[in-house]
Symmetry: C2
Subunit: 337 residues, 2 copies
Amino acid sequence: MSESDLLARIIPMFGESPFAGSGVLVAPGDDAAVITARESVVVTTDSMVRGRDWRDDWSSGHDVGLKVVAQNVADVAAMGAVATGLLVSVAADPETELDWVIDLTRGIADAAEDAGCPVVGGDLSSAPAGVIMVAVTAFGDLQGRMPVLRSGARPGDVVAVAGSLGWSGAGLALYEAGTTDPIAPNAGAGHLTAMERATSVLMWFHRSPRPPWESGPVAADAGATSMIDLSDGLVRDGGRIAVASGVELALDEAQLREHFLAGPIELAVGTDVGWRQVLSGGEEHSLLATFPADAVPDDPHAPWTVIGQVVEAGPQGPRLTVGGAVPSVTGWDHFAG
Amino acid sequence: MSESDLLARIIPMFGESPFAGSGVLVAPGDDAAVITARESVVVTTDSMVRGRDWRDDWSSGHDVGLKVVAQNVADVAAMGAVATGLLVSVAADPETELDWVIDLTRGIADAAEDAGCPVVGGDLSSAPAGVIMVAVTAFGDLQGRMPVLRSGARPGDVVAVAGSLGWSGAGLALYEAGTTDPIAPNAGAGHLTAMERATSVLMWFHRSPRPPWESGPVAADAGATSMIDLSDGLVRDGGRIAVASGVELALDEAQLREHFLAGPIELAVGTDVGWRQVLSGGEEHSLLATFPADAVPDDPHAPWTVIGQVVEAGPQGPRLTVGGAVPSVTGWDHFAG
C-alpha cells in the first residue's frame, strides 16, 4: 500500500466527526493547515514509541491513539487553555498491519472528538523494521486567560489535585507482574469481585488514561497560581513547581493516603506498592495546581482535592515534602526508562 | 545521562540566538509554550527517521538538523506565511552519542536562526536500539495574507519555480553510486575541477537543502493563485496542483532543460540521470507556484523562473504534462521508499 493510498484511508477518518472544521481555516491536504487564533496559541508536543511507551500485547492501536492525544491535551490544559487542534506524525515500519493503523487512527479521532479539537494535519513516514512512533502536537486557546505557569506558587497557597494519582503506575505494575485483565476482550465482565474490578480499572487506565483536561481552564479562572500535568509522578512534577516557584510544597501524608491510596489502588496492588505509585507513578496526566487558600474551585468536571500547603523554602532550598520529609521515591525518567 | 541532564544541555542551545524570545510569551520549560498570533496560525509537521531519511555515513547530526527544519519552514512558506516558531520532538536510542545529539541540536538552532523562528519547545523520548527519529512542527504567520492553496491555479496562469530542481535527488544518486564528496571534511577544497565542484554542491544540497523560503510570502503578495513546496518531485507535486485545481499544468521541456538541467546537475550526473532528477527528484523543497501571467514577482530572494502554462484540463482530466506528454517518471513515495 502506498503512502497516498494509506493517507486516502486515514484522512477521512478525521473528517467524520461533527466538530471537524470548527476553527480550521485550511484542513488536511495542503502544505500546512491554518487554524484560527486570537492573540496567542499554546503549543506542545509529546510522542509514544512502540516497545518503550506501549507494548502490543498490552495495548491496542486504539489505546495508543487515546493515550497520545490525552497526554498532549493535558499539557494544554495545564496552561489553563482549551485544546483547539492536533497534528499527528506517524513513522511506521511499512510492514505494519493496516488494521493496526486504522485502529490507531480511530483512537486518535475518538480522543480528539472527546477533547473537542480537530486533527488538522500530519505526516506519515516509514521507519525501520518493527518501529512505530506516534508524535502529536496540540494547539490551545487561552480564551483571554493568562497562562498558568509552574513558577507562580506562593507561600500560603494550598496544593490540590484534579484526577487520580498512581492509577497508571499501578496498572503498569499489574501488567509487569503478569496479571491478566479480568475484563479481557472476549471474556465479558461476568461476576467480578471488587478486587478484580479494581485490577481491571487500573489496567484500563494505564492503557488509555482520561485526564480531567476540562479542569485546567476552570483552575485558571479560579485563580490558580501554578499548574502542571502529572506525567512523571507527583513527587517529580510537584518538585518542578517547587523549584520553578522557589518554595516548598509541603504535602499531607494522611490526605494523600485517604483520598488517593484507599480505593482501587490499595485493593489491587496493596498498601506498599500502591503508596509508591501514588507518589511516583508516571503517565497519570492529572492536574496539580496551587491556589490561594480561599480559591480552590468547585469544579463541575472533577473535584480538586487539597493535599498540602505551599510554605517558604527552608535552608535546604525549594523542594517537595510528604509528611515533613523528602520522599525516597523519585519518579519516571523517559530517557533512562 | 538522564533526560533532565540531557535537556539541561540542549535547551540553552536554543536560547543563545539573539532572536529567542521574539513573539514567545512562554518559552521552553513549562507544560507547553505560548506564542503570539493574530487571527490565524499556519501549522505543519514533518519528520526524519535514521536509516530512512538519512544515513549516518553521509549526513552529520548538524545536516539532519538543518534539513528537518528546512522541510518544515518550506511548508509554511508554501502557504505564503513566515515561520514564527518550532517544536522539536526527538525519540532516540538512549545509547546515542551525546556529541551527535549536540550536533543535531546545533543544526536545528542554526536553521531556526536562519529562518528567524525560535525553537519554543519539544519532547525527548527513548527509542529502541539504533532508532533515532526527529519530528518538527512549525508555526507560521500569514501577516494578513490569504493562505495560498494548491487549488487556485486557473487557465491562463503561468507556472513558475523559485529555487533549484533535482539537486537533492542528483546528490542522492551520487551518494548511492558510492561517490565521495570531493570536499571531504578533512580534505580541503584545493584545486577542484568544475565537475568536482558540481558534484560537491549537489551532495551538500542533498545533505542540507536551503529552500528559498523567503519567496513564499513574496509570491503570495504578488498574487500567486496556487503554491506547493516540492518535497516529492516536480511531476508529483505539480500533479497535486493540477488535480486540486482541476487544470492541466503544461510544462515547457526546453525551459526546464535550459534553466534546471544545464549546470551542476548535467555536469555531475549527465543528461539522462539529471533530466530524471529535474522531473522527479524529491526533497528539494523549492517552491512551485502559479501566477496570473503579468504577476510573476521580481523576487529579491530568488528568481521565479517560468516553466509552463496552466491550461484547461483535456479529456484525460487534470494532469501535468512536459512537452505535451505525461512524463514516464513519477516521484518519491516515502512509505514505499
